[in-house]
């Protein structure tokens, strides 16, 4: 072996992988070749540990046009000649090192994935995780990430219409920044990310290339790291204005027949853009690094190939069209230049002038070894799961009101308005339901249709049961869409985990993926794209397993959309789905916000009955579509009392109701509540799945009961809307102003430094 361990560490290759390269190549790789292998065989680009597992995810569906891995993003058909293009990606490690630019360039990258395909980006969402805001460093990361997303996204004029935020110790120093972009394209306008066409030319477009971001894919995203200061120069700096110009120019270009394909430069920069397009086109490529426009002097071929300078695109131009393409970019003030050509020998040849610095078959570069480590359920997990609720004293009636206030003010539950008001969520004139409800709704101009979007994950559940956590993530996302009146269509996911070489982390990864797959099958929603982010740990401690689900749904008539806000005095409020879990053998407290916030316990197990989940969703959707539902809210973090409170707050109206102590008033499946013994904490704050709080005109109650019976969904009368108080039996009695204050201020108080 002719290289040092340090050199291999730098490109994140193991000694075994290095030997494999020599064996396949029949010689030692050059320095440039080693860098190229390191990037493309990195976890980030090569999916070494996750690819075999990702095959478990169902990706077929009657609307699916492009499946995961085929292109930069997945595509579904929504009728009317329109396609939805969607993808989610992580920018965790860069954001840990430099929160503002890390998050900003995350937006830049995901947006490029969408317009590269010829689709106009019309929505952004994000899912963020931080350590507790009581620590100054976490506040720095949180504020920096939010400001970075705002600065970049707002400049692009793409609405940022939803997101979620969750705080836990495990994300201190390792925040999660997952960003989702959705675009719309007309049928027949999709652009492929492939080279080909015999003698086509490779054109590099956009920003000049600098030394920023070198080792981003291999170094930052593909291993755990200790000293983030040292890595700061590997984070790129974004220029959203240039990106905005690229969007307009590339979408214009997509409508011409001057190009073969387009690919953005993301992780591993020029290397992965060129090699991946060549691989998809089944051809070779030859490029000359001297022809790459640079912003720094005396860059080596190695640096040019691995730079992750932002806002660059690779355009595969049909021979003879290069002048027309160039003049299109000139119009937008964007520089462009030919850097190479497509060849038919299957070789990736990199030259510096006349000198060849790398020459490797494309097929070798895109065939990293795949690893299937042994997955083993850790013993600590079994211990956490065996939790006996009777060891926790139940709430006393006089405690319930104050516990509700504490839950509403918990940063995990409180309103995130202070965050999303920093994002332009109305530009493009499509935003029908703004951030803050279960799912955002956009109308699609020129049709009656609407899209509903949500992003979801429950990491505490995943920590306590990776399989069920995966199931619930999908179930809850679909439930959110259904609450807005939409039929779930497709998923993009982002799988954030620790070091996969550890048995328990690999177990979490495997089980979570299996859980997601199981729920996708039951609810018939395919996964069309996604991203994997591993090595999320700092100082040896892995984050919670955090699979994040982004989901899009379709409303045939956007006018029938629904929100969580209670509307009118006198309306009846019902619970769809069981008051408690099916069979009553689960308490709903396992992994709940209540248990952590009030008792400082992260224990127990979540539970879900997928068949009931599906029926509850069908029932809710049907009731919304026939027009009898005036509000629908997913009952999730904080349980029933929090869900009712949120509907009161957003509707600015009170509620008076009772805890049904024996039977269900209407519908089938009469169930008894108190088999656990009647526990106030369980009923008020337990997080049983498959439940939706709906309100309707009292005259519609019979219709709802008929629909519930049809779907065999338990239906429980909860109470009536009205007044200026939230009253539940003798347990909760709070003025609206008070719950509003707790919910509205709970989070913002934590965000400021003072």
């Amino acid at each position: 072996m002719s290289v040092t361990k340090e050199a291999l560490d730098k490109v994140a290759l193991s000694k075994e992988e290095y030997n494999l390269i020599i064996q396949r190549l029949g010689r030692d790789p050059t320095e440039v070749e080693l860098g190229v292998f390191g990037s493309l065989w990195s976890e980030h680009c090569g999916y070494k540990h996750s690819k075999p597992l990702l095959k478990l995810l169902p990706s077929k569906g009657k609307h699916v046009i492009v499946k995961p891995g085929e292109e930069n993003a997945g595509v579904v058909d929504i009728g009317d000649g329109l396609l939805v293009v969607m993808k989610m990606e992580s920018h965790n490690h860069p954001s840990a090192v430099e929160p503002h630019q890390g998050a900003a360039t995350g937006i830049g990258g995901i947006v490029r994935d969408i317009f590269t395909m010829g689709a106009r980006p019309i929505a952004l969402l994000n899912s963020l995780r931080f350590g507790p805001l009581s620590e100054v460093h976490n506040r720095y990361l949180c504020n920096g990430v939010i400001a970075g997303i705002a600065a970049y996204g707002n400049c692009l004029g793409i609405p940022n219409i939803g997101g979620e935020l969750f705080f836990s110790d495990c994300y201190s120093f390792n925040p999660l920044v997952n960003v989702l972009c959705l675009g719309i394209a007309e049928e027949g306008e999709l652009v492929k990310a492939k080279a080909g066409g015999g003698d086509s030319l490779l054109m590099l477009v956009g920003a000049d290339t600098g030394r920023d971001g070198i080792y981003g894919a291999s170094g930052l995203a593909s291993r755990a790291f200790g000293d983030e200061q040292e890595l700061r120069p590997t984070v790129q700096v974004g220029n959203p204005f240039l990106e905005k110009l690229l969007i307009e120019a590339c979408l214009e270009l997509a409508r011409t027949d001057w190009i073969v394909g387009m690919q953005d430069l993301g992780a591993a920069g020029l290397t992965s853009a060129v090699i991946e397009s060549a691989a998809k086109g089944g051809c070779g490529v030859e490029i000359d690094v001297l022809r790459v426009a640079r912003r720094e002097e005396s860059m080596t071929p190695y640096e040019v190939m691995l730079s992750e300078s932002q806002e660059r695109m690779l355009v595969i131009v049909k021979k003879g069209c290069e002048a027309k393409v160039k003049s299109l970019f000139d119009h937008w003030g964007i520089s462009s230049g030919i850097i190479g050509r497509v060849s038919d020998d299957g070789l990736a040849v990199i030259k510096e002038g006349e000198r060849t610095v790398a020459e490797v078959p494309v097929s070798l570069l895109i065939s990293p070894p795949f690893y299937r480590p042994r997955a083993k359920k850790p013993s600590w997990l079994t211990e956490l799961q065996s939790f006996d609720v009777s060891t926790v004293p139940d709430l006393k009636p006089r405690q319930c009101s104050s516990v509700l206030l504490r839950l509403l003010a918990s940063p995990n539950i409180a309103s995130k308005e202070v965050v999303y008001r920093q994002y332009d969520h109305q530009v493009m004139d499509n935003s029908v339901v703004l951030p803050g409800s279960d799912a955002a709704v956009l109308r699609i101009k020129g049709t009656r249709k609407g899209l509903s979007l949500t992003i979801d994950g429950n990491d505490r559940y995943c920590y306590l049961d990776p399989f069920l956590g995966g199931v619930i993530g999908v179930a809850e996302a679909a439930r959110n869409l259904v609450c807005s009146g939409a039929e779930p269509l497709a998923i993009t996911d982002c799988l954030n985990f620790g070091d996969p070489q550890k048995k328990d982390v690999y177990y979490q990864l495997k089980e979570s993926i299996k859980g997601i797959a199981r729920a996708c099958q039951e609810l018939q929603v395919p996964v069309i794209s996604g991203n994997v982010s591993l090595y999320n740990e700092t100082r040896g401690e892995a984050i919670y397993p955090s699979p994040i689900i982004g989901m899009v749904g379709l409303l045939d008539n956007v006018g029938t959309h629904c929100t969580m806000a209670f509307r009118d005095e006198g309306d009846f409020v019902f619970l769809l789905g069981g008051l408690l879990s099916p069979g009553d053998d689960k308490d709903g407290l396992g992994g709940s916000e209540y248990l952590e916030l009030i008792h400082n316990l992260i224990k127990g197990e979540p539970s879900v009955d997928l068949s009931l989940e599906r029926r509850v969703q069908r029932c809710c959707l049907e009731a919304i579509r026939v027009g009898i539902i005036k509000s629908a809210h997913d009952c999730s973090d904080g349980g029933l009392a929090v869900a009712i409170a949120e509907s009161c707050i957003t509707g600015n109206i009170g509620f008076r109701g009772e805890i049904p102590s024996h039977t269900v008033e209407l519908g089938v499946d009469n169930q008894r509540v108190p088999s656990l013994g009647f526990r106030l904490d369980v009923v008020l704050f337990g997080e049983h799945q498959s439940r939706i709080v709906v309100s309707l005109n009292h005259g519609s109650a019979i219709k709802l009961s008929n629909i519930a019976r049809k779907w065999q969904v338990p239906l429980t009368f909860l109470g009536e809307i009205g007044g200026r108080h939230l009253v539940i039996d003798n347990y909760i009695n709070l003025p609206l102003a008070k719950i509003k204050k707790a919910w509205c201020k709970g989070f913002s108080h934590n965000l400021t430094d003072s």
Binding site: G157, K244, D424, V427, D429, V432, K445, G559
Partner: protein, 233 residues
């Protein structure tokens, strides 16, 4: 009625304005690329929102040098109506077509939210269909919208009824709690002394359909149209 919508490289409300004016209100609307030097056939020019040149230096500081701006100036000299929305307002101030400047918000954050505007002057071509004191619900979306001018200019603006919109509560009170960005005198929109140039931070093109939460923006567009109809009669 034909609107000209000026497009700088980083403008993004151009399409929203076009949608509102053409698809919702049914009038003619045409994009004008910022390199144009001649403008003819337009009855009203719109400078929409966005980040004209990235706004890294100061919003509008570079856009004022765009070739189209001398044509816009000429257009206003002939009495033509110009409405600058958000970034358009910033550009009009930088170009000297409106007095004052727009500073970063006092809280140093971008804000996208619904606000209530109180109509202070309904004698302008942009507000003739409003009642004086009427409240319009229209959203804002900006970082630099904090209106500032020196004391003399402010007094002139007030004395000449050039303050057209102020941030207000839903019931019309002008208080600091209703001010989303720290603007002096809660100023949300002003006209020039001649009354044919309006700059405002809120986005009327985002409030033209009940599906999206408000139709109050239409009152501004319809006022412009009313002025045009009267003029061409």
């Amino acid at each position: 009625m034909k609107f000209g919508i000026v497009v700088f490289p980083g403008t993004w409300s151009d399409r929203d304005c076009h949608y509102a004016l053409h698809h919702i209100l049914g009038w003619e609307a045409e994009y004008i690329w910022h390199k144009e030097t001649k403008l003819s056939g337009f009855d009203c020019l719109v400078l929409p929102g966005g980040f004209s040149y990235g706004d890294y230096l100061r919003p509008g500081a570079i856009a004022r040098f765009s070739p189209v701006m001398s044509a816009v100036k000429q257009f206003t000299c002939g009495g033509g109506l110009v409405i600058g929305i958000c970034n358009g307002f910033q550009i009009l101030c930088e170009a000297g077509l409106l007095p004052g400047v727009l500073l970063p918000s006092s809280h140093l954050q971008y804000r996208c939210q619904w606000v209530n505007l109180r109509v202070e002057n309904n004698n302008s071509p942009f507000t003739s269909r409003c009642q004086k004191g009427q409240i319009l619900k229209i959203p804002i979306s900006h970082y630099e919208g904090n209106y500032y001018a020196d004391e003399t200019t402010l007094q002139e603006l007030e004395a000449n009824n050039q303050v057209v919109f102020r941030y207000a509560t839903a019931s019309g009170r002008i208080i600091s709690a209703a001010n989303p960005n720290g603007s002096l005198h809660n100023i949300a929109g002003i006209i020039n002394r001649e009354g044919n140039v309006l700059g405002l931070m809120p986005h009327p093109e985002r409030a033209c359909e009940s599906l999206l939460g408000s139709t109050d923006g239409n009152i501004i567009w319809e006022s412009i149209n009313e002025r045009y109809q009267r003029g061409s009669r």
